[in-house]
């Protein structure tokens, strides 16, 4: 009770909870789930973009993409570390992912069908992720907030590079322009859904806001994203595939059409184009790599024994 009061006071003052602080079990559990799933998203997210590393059409773009995917892996590492401060382990988190108990961002359950998808993912998927993550930089849990600051900085860079790649294509050949427009048509609605269900359908959000984990509502973030992105699309010269999208002068925001939540939930629940492939690929990498991890362990033990012998 005194601990709870102290905890509440820190939260109310927009302070930071650190690993050594007392926290409600539900707060800890929520954060473990959220942070680890964020980490899983970064790792699984390496796959749709990694799909194009070998075929990147110029050395510069290959380097940019490889660096981006490497950064994403690095983000996964920071986030796994942040989650570990809450009393879980990498092996436990990976096991939860591989068994299907833990989720990852459903946006990565779609295939990257063309090179333009890579640029669109940078522009829109990273763009949406950043919009989701900037508020998390003020998250009440210290390690998560600090990880988010590092992640957001790098992801802003990725977003700019993705957008720049699209800009180049939109000044290019007819095939390149068509490729970009086609990619936008396929990804736009899925990116809008990344902000999660409408506020009146999001029960978890309330508690999240009470704990200083969630700062801004799904719908508010989604609206911000649309308003930020529309002018970017105009500069690019692409049409966002929504006939109802238009500026509403009264609201001072853009009106936009209805998201297909049935499709969203289908995919979240396992029935997307790539769900099985993404998870199976991660499981295979883990299982195929078991002998490597065992070797590292065995060698470390041998080294430890040699060191002890020498000390003796």
């Amino acid at each position: 009770p005194a601990l709870q009061a102290h905890f509440d006071a820190v939260i109310d003052a927009d302070g930071k909870i650190e690993p050594r602080d007392w926290m409600p079990e539900a707060y800890r559990k929520t954060l473990v789930r959220q942070i680890s799933q964020h980490a899983h998203s970064e790792i699984v997210g390496m796959l749709p973009e990694g799909n194009w590393i070998s075929r990147a059409p110029s050395l510069k773009r290959k380097a940019i993409l490889l660096a981006k995917v490497q950064d994403e892996g690095g983000h996964g590492l920071y986030l796994y570390s942040a989650a570990e401060t809450l009393g879980t382990s990498r092996d436990q988190m990976v096991e939860a992912l591989h068994s299907g108990r833990a989720k990852y961002s459903s946006i990565f359950n779609y295939p990257t069908l063309t090179w333009a998808d890579v640029g669109v993912i940078g522009w829109l998927v990273d763009g949406a992720a950043i919009m989701n993550q900037i508020p998390l930089c003020r998250c009440s849990y210290g390690p998560y907030a600090r990880a988010m600051i590092r992640v957001c900085k790098e992801e802003s860079f990725h977003q700019r590079q993705g957008y720049e790649s699209l800009l180049t294509m939109m000044q290019g050949t007819d095939e390149q322009k068509a490729m970009v427009q086609d990619a936008v048509n396929r990804w736009w609605w899925k990116c809008l859904a990344m902000f999660g269900p409408p506020d009146d359908n999001s029960p978890n959000s309330v508690q999240g806001m009470r704990w200083g984990i969630k700062r801004i509502s799904n719908d508010a973030l989604r609206q911000k994203f649309v308003d930020a992105t529309v002018p970017q699309a105009e500069v690019l010269g692409v049409t966002l595939p929504d006939p109802e999208l238009k500026w509403n002068a009264e609201r001072g925001q853009h009106d936009f059409g209805a998201i297909d939540w049935d499709e969203f939930w289908q995919v979240v629940n396992g029935n997307g184009p790539c769900n099985k492939e993404r998870l199976a690929t991660r499981v295979k990498a883990w299982e195929d790599g078991a002998w490597v991890r065992e070797a590292a362990l065995a060698h470390a033990r041998k080294q430890a024994q040699r060191t002890m012998k020498e000390a003796a």
């Binding site: 590393i53 075929r55 892996g73 290019g172 790599g289 060698h299 470390a300």
Partner: protein, 282 residues
């Protein structure tokens, strides 16, 4: 031996192709590595090699563009030109298999000997052994190239040497873990070594490009580096408790454009999109 002479184009392409092809292979592990940290390390190595390749191709492109005979020789490469001039991408994406001058060692898939269209799992031991064999060479080669009469090449060498010192220590550490780890990891590492070692004979055979580079002070006769390479290798193999295979067997000739059956497939994938849009800028 004029100070500021450029290295022969084929010598630069040999260096560049080595870096590009190994970078391409190492990058294949991205998202599939045995440990997340190693996924990132291999991506990092691949980025380093890609960076080296880019600098070398850019230098080669400038040399080719500046010399009419060379420009004529590469006139058939029409893709990715900038205002008619050859670029790094013209060289990387529009040459045919027989025009690539990388060591065959570097183009092999990450598994034991198999024909071109065979399919098998990727083997981390193969990747590690290859990286050690090549990084050991490049430590010695870049070190000497810092004194190249070609100032661009000397600068590239200085930058690359820093990178490859880390590659060698990282891959060497892994080779030790695998060789002196479990019975399975030792068996895999030994098999990889037995498979890949004969492919290093190609390092020492010399060719016209190397001779021309030695002649104008821009390059190194690799055969001079063999004793030091042997010493580096023997040291890490001893620590890894691995048996160095006897010399002998077929000597590969990738640097002369005579590749394995794997190179065609590697390039088909790598070049596919660029060739689909030969005039596009990306």
């Amino acid at each position: 031996m004029g100070a500021g002479d450029s290295a022969p184009v084929d010598y630069l392409l040999h260096l560049a192709d080595n870096a590009l092809v190994l970078g391409q292979r190492n990058a294949e592990w991205c998202g599939h590595g045995p440990i997340l940290e190693e996924d990132l390390a291999l991506a990092n190595h691949a980025l380093d090699h890609l960076g080296q390749a880019r600098l070398l191709y850019q230098h080669a492109a400038r040399c080719i563009n500046a010399e009419p005979a060379q420009a004529q020789r590469f006139a058939h490469l029409q893709g990715a030109r900038a205002d008619g001039a050859l670029t790094e991408d013209s060289l990387a994406y529009f040459r045919a298999t027989h025009e690539f001058r990388n060591f065959t060692l570097l183009e092999l898939p990450h598994h034991g000997p198999l024909a071109g269209p065979a399919r098998a799992d990727r083997d981390f031991a193969t990747t590690t052994v290859r990286n050690v064999l090549y990084a050991a060479l490049m430590n010695l080669w870049w070190e000497r190239l810092q004194a190249s009469a070609d100032p661009q090449l000397a600068a590239i060498a200085a930058k690359s040497l820093k990178e490859v010192r880390y590659h060698l220590s990282h891959a060497g550490d892994w080779l030790v873990r695998l060789g002196d780890g479990t019975d399975e990891s030792r068996a895999r590492a030994q098999a990889a070594l037995d498979h890949l070692m004969p492919h290093t004979q190609e390092f020492w055979t010399g060719d016209e490009a190397e001779s021309a580079a030695v002649a104008n002070g821009t390059g190194v006769a690799l055969a001079e580096l063999k004793p030091a390479w042997d010493a580096l290798l023997d040291e890490v193999l001893a620590e890894a408790t691995l048996r160095r295979p006897a010399d002998g067997g077929y000597v590969t000739q990738g640097k002369r454009g005579l590749h394995s059956e794997h190179m065609g497939f590697l390039l088909a994938e790598m070049q596919s999109l660029a060739r689909e849009h030969p005039q596009a800028v990306w």
